[in-house]
């Protein structure tokens, strides 16, 4: 066992910190003591359950189990991103498709090129980071697209009225949404290591891996996150555009009745 990893006794001891947070909440009469208890209990239970399931998957399921796990994550992430895009036609399939495309292309490329190993203990955490990045990018893209389609309706319809096809009439709005969705991931790629020590690298260092080895992983992670965000945002935008317009190059009514 790695001496840097806390024992179960250590975990129990760290509950003292939760007690400290509760004491502050009580003293300040924040009425949050109950919430903190529930949050702490949930964190413990959820992570224990995930740890146990991951152990099972790592030891028994093989690559098929990893693929199944990733699929489940993509479906959940699609739901979360679609909730942000409520009001957009066909939000759920659009968001799920975007997350799936971003994940499949990125993880698939890394596997095909042999950059990462197909073992579940590698594919699942790496895939998790990709799904999460793709989900954020898809959610921001769809939220912005919905706003653009509503606020930009007069301009979009003015372009349609000049005989421009839907893709051209919507292009400036689509570009604005894509830029908004991609800037956070570009910025975090620029500043990684300077402002934040990212998760994968921190984890490896905690597990006793040399920092020079840990950064190799992190560099791959940063590159794949930019790719996943770009692919998910672009797929979300293209699919949403098809849902926003009909075959007659008409911007569908906002209430989504037709």
């Amino acid at each position: 066992m790695n001496p840097a990893v806390p024992t179960w006794a250590g975990v129990a001891t760290s509950l003292a910190l939760v007690a400290l947070a509760m004491a502050i909440a009580r003293r300040q009469r924040l009425h949050l003591a109950r919430e903190i208890t529930i949050a702490a209990a949930r964190a413990g239970a959820q992570l224990t359950a995930v740890g146990a399931i991951l152990l099972l998957v790592f030891t028994h399921a093989g690559p098929a189990g990893a693929a199944g796990w990733l699929t489940l994550m993509v479906l959940i992430a699609g739901q979360v991103a679609a909730r942000r895009a409520r009001g957009l036609p066909r939000a759920l399939p659009v968001a799920t498709g975007a997350v799936a495309a971003g994940t499949a292309a990125t993880v698939g490329t890394l596997l095909a090129l042999g950059v990462i190993s197909p073992q579940p203990r590698v594919v699942i955490p790496v895939g998790g980071m990709v799904v999460s990045g793709a989900m954020t990018a898809a959610a921001v893209t769809l939220t912005r697209l919905r706003e653009e389609a509503a606020a930009g309706r007069p301009a979009i319809e003015a372009r349609l009225s000049l005989g421009l096809p839907a893709t051209q009439a919507f292009r400036p709005h689509l570009h604005a949404a894509l830029r908004t969705a991609l800037i956070p991931s570009i910025d975090s790629t620029k500043t990684v290591g300077l402002i934040s020590l990212p998760g994968a690298m921190t984890g490896l260092i905690l597990a006793g891996v040399s920092p020079l080895t840990a950064i190799r992983y992190q560099i791959v992670v940063m590159y794949m996150l930019v790719a996943a965000a770009a692919l998910a945002a672009l797929t979300a935008a293209r699919l949403a555009e098809r849902a926003l317009f009909d075959d007659a190059h008409r911007l569908r009514p906002q209430d989504g009745t037709r």
């Binding site: 003015a158 372009r159 349609l160 009225s161 000049l162 005989g163 421009l164 007659a248 008409r250 009745t257």
Partner: protein, 227 residues
Amino acid sequence: MTGDVAPLFTLDQVTVRRGGTLLLDQVTCHFPAGACTALTGPSGAGKTTLLRLLNRLEEPDDGRVRLHGAPLASLDVLALRRRVALVAQTPVLLTGEILDELRAGRPDLDRDQAARLLEQVSLPAAMLTRSTAGLSGGEAQRLCLARALAARPQVLLLDEPTSALDAGSTRAVEQVAGSFLAVGGSVVLVSHDAAQTSRIAGHVLVLHSGQLTAGPARQIANHKEYP
């Protein structure tokens, strides 16, 4: 309708619903070619919806719209919109420079053609290289009209084009409509302004709560009750 010209647009039992609201209720009418038809009636009567059906920015839930006898849905919609140009009530400018604005729907427009379009809407040709940012409402609306004319449409759909304009701009817009008619074009005009409809429209359709209350052959004089 005089009967000797095929109708430009024919609406046959056209119904449009949005959510639970009936915007147009089984409207049957026609618009003659080579003339100006005014659509009038109180606010919320469905005038704009009817106008937007004519270039397929709206689709009927029931019924059919025809252009020269052909169902609109059977025509190429992008070609239809270049043939049937719509100018919205509020001018929306799409680019930063006036020349680019005129080229928005017709990228191959040369400078001479663009200058002539500006003159057509009584804007100085010297404005061509100016920014669209400092234009007044009247200038912006006239620029939108010129932008629509750039594609050489056969029909102009004007949605209350002068409701927010000063007298000079209003006159300029009406002159454009007049000369467009004089060269064989057709105009459909949504207007609240009875004096304006009597100046330029040969036919009037009156809408009330999504229903037609008067046929196209009636003259303006019968509809003084809608100012």
